[in-house]
């Protein structure tokens, strides 16, 4: 993991993309998301995640439902909306394009 401050905007920008990817696979709650990102370059904390998820919900990309957990209070389980899935597809395409460009430039 590079701690170069120059890479920070890249990680920040990609975080939303990764959230869409993680949430698209399954209904997840915040601890699941944090667990998936832990140990990667994108390790994230609640302080960042909650505001971001709430922004994505306002943009109608994700939605949540309350679900009782075995122990403790009910949890918010997030899933993608139709708009979120479209956005993810677009982002996937865009990401491939970027990769292609980078590879082309390396040659």
């Amino acid at each position: 993991m590079s701690s170069d401050v120059k890479f920070l905007p890249i990680r920040k920008g990609l975080l939303e993309f990764l959230l869409l990817k993680i949430i698209s696979a399954d209904k997840v709650y915040v601890a699941d998301i944090l667990g998936r990102l832990e140990g990667t370059e994108f390790a994230t904390q609640e302080g960042t995640l909650y505001p971001l998820l709430s922004k994505m919900r306002r943009e109608d990309l994700v939605d949540y439902e309350w679900q009782e957990s075995g122990a403790g209070p009910p949890r918010k389980y997030y899933r993608l909306t139709a708009k979120g899935r479209t956005q993810l597809a677009e982002l996937n395409d865009y990401w491939r394009e970027i990769n292609r460009t980078i590879q082309k430039l390396e040659r």
Partner: protein, 357 residues
């Protein structure tokens, strides 16, 4: 020995030591400050409290029921600083408006409106000439037996007015949802109450001023009269505009009726006042020709109308309203006369009405 406080984190009580409490307080205050502009501030704060509480519960066990300072510091470090997505949102919005020139939505457009700008707004929304929308409106008014007028009134109060440049662009460029609809209606109602209040205030103000003026010297009053109003057009120009506007309305109403008459007679009898288009010209092309001629003649009239509106100055609202009503009334009157006294016209509309059903 440390003092212990009980805190409520999103509905659950936790025992924390005083220093832990201070740290928690500082974290949550900072979070609230950072999220002050976030529309979901309350919800996010509740989520954060819940998350802190969950982490706290995991520290606690049968042998431990108070959270200490070190526990709290660790929990808060795990939580991480609150980051608002402010920059990210800004960028996303900029990208959105740049890419699709903003979503289209329905507004009342007050530039060149007849009554309230509903037809004008619809015309901007669909990207057609306002006159066409007005004609369609009048036709629908007859076919629906006046129901459309109610629709017009509802739209007039419910649709927002395009005030800023962005809104005017958007008027041309999302249909609005039900919640906004209700909000708008409330807003207009509040405006209505507000303007009534202002009107009463103004009347009182005028009375008081008249009272003072009778006693004091005029020169004392003069410099402070209406210091922040736009320069008004000359009195002569306003009087001229006041005469010209109704005249223009009458002319344009006559013109509109003539255009409709020409169109109808073209479609029913295949001729206009004895002149029929050459055989090879299809009826729709001839109709387009009529519309083109109408638009050509109506354009300078419209220019004069707008110039007159300008000349009337800032307090032209009611005048413009009545001018629009006059236009509409004349068109409806002409229509009624035509429908009752010209057999071809009434047959045509009966047919149209029949087909409609």
């Amino acid at each position: 020995m440390n003092k212990v406080t009980t805190v409520n984190l999103n509905g659950r009580a936790y025992q924390v030591e005083e220093q832990a409490y201070e740290a928690l307080r500082a974290y949550l205050d900072e979070a609230a400050r950072l999220l002050a502009d976030d529309p979901d501030c309350k919800e996010i704060m509740a989520d954060l409290e819940q998350a802190i509480g969950d982490k706290g519960s995991r520290c606690l066990g049968p042998g431990k029921n108070v959270l200490g300072e070190t526990d709290m510091k660790r929990i808060l470090a795990e939580m991480g600083p609150v980051e608002t997505g402010a920059e990210a949102t800004g960028a996303a919005q900029a990208a959105g408006t740049g890419a699709a020139s903003g979503p289209k939505r329905l507004y009342l457009v007050k530039e060149g409106e007849m009554i309230a700008g509903v037809c004008n707004g619809l015309a901007a929304y669909f990207g057609v000439d306002p006159t066409i929308v007005r004609l369609v409106f009048v036709v629908l008014l007859f076919l629906s037996g006046g129901l459309v007028a109610i629709a017009y009134l509802v739209l007039m109060f419910v649709v927002p007015t395009a005030k800023t440049a962005e809104e005017r662009a958007a008027a041309r460029g999302l249909p609005f949802n039900a919640q906004e609809l209700v909000e708008q209606a409330k807003h207009h109602y509040a405006d209505l109450k507000d303007s009534h209040q202002r009107w009463r205030d103004r009347r009182r103000h005028r009375k008081e001023r008249a009272f003072w003026r009778s006693g004091e010297k005029r020169a004392y009053e003069e410099p402070q009269s209406r210091p922040f109003e736009r320069p008004q057009p000359g009195y002569g120009a306003r009087v001229a505009a006041g005469f010209v506007l109704p005249l223009i309305s009458v002319i344009s109403a006559v013109l509109t009726v003539a255009a409709i008459f020409a169109g109808v007679s073209l479609l029913t009898a295949g001729e206009i006042l004895g002149w029929s288009p050459p055989m090879e010209v299809p009826p729709w092309a001839a109709l387009l020709g009529v519309i083109a001629v109408y638009a050509l003649v109506a354009a300078p009239l419209r220019a004069v109308r707008y110039a007159s509106y300008e000349a009337l100055g800032p307090r032209r609202g009611w005048f413009v309203f009545w001018d629009g009503v006059l236009w509409l009334a004349l068109v409806i009157l002409a229509w009624w006369i035509a429908a009752h006294y010209l057999p071809g016209v009434s047959e045509f509309f009966q047919d149209l009405f029949h087909d409609w059903r």
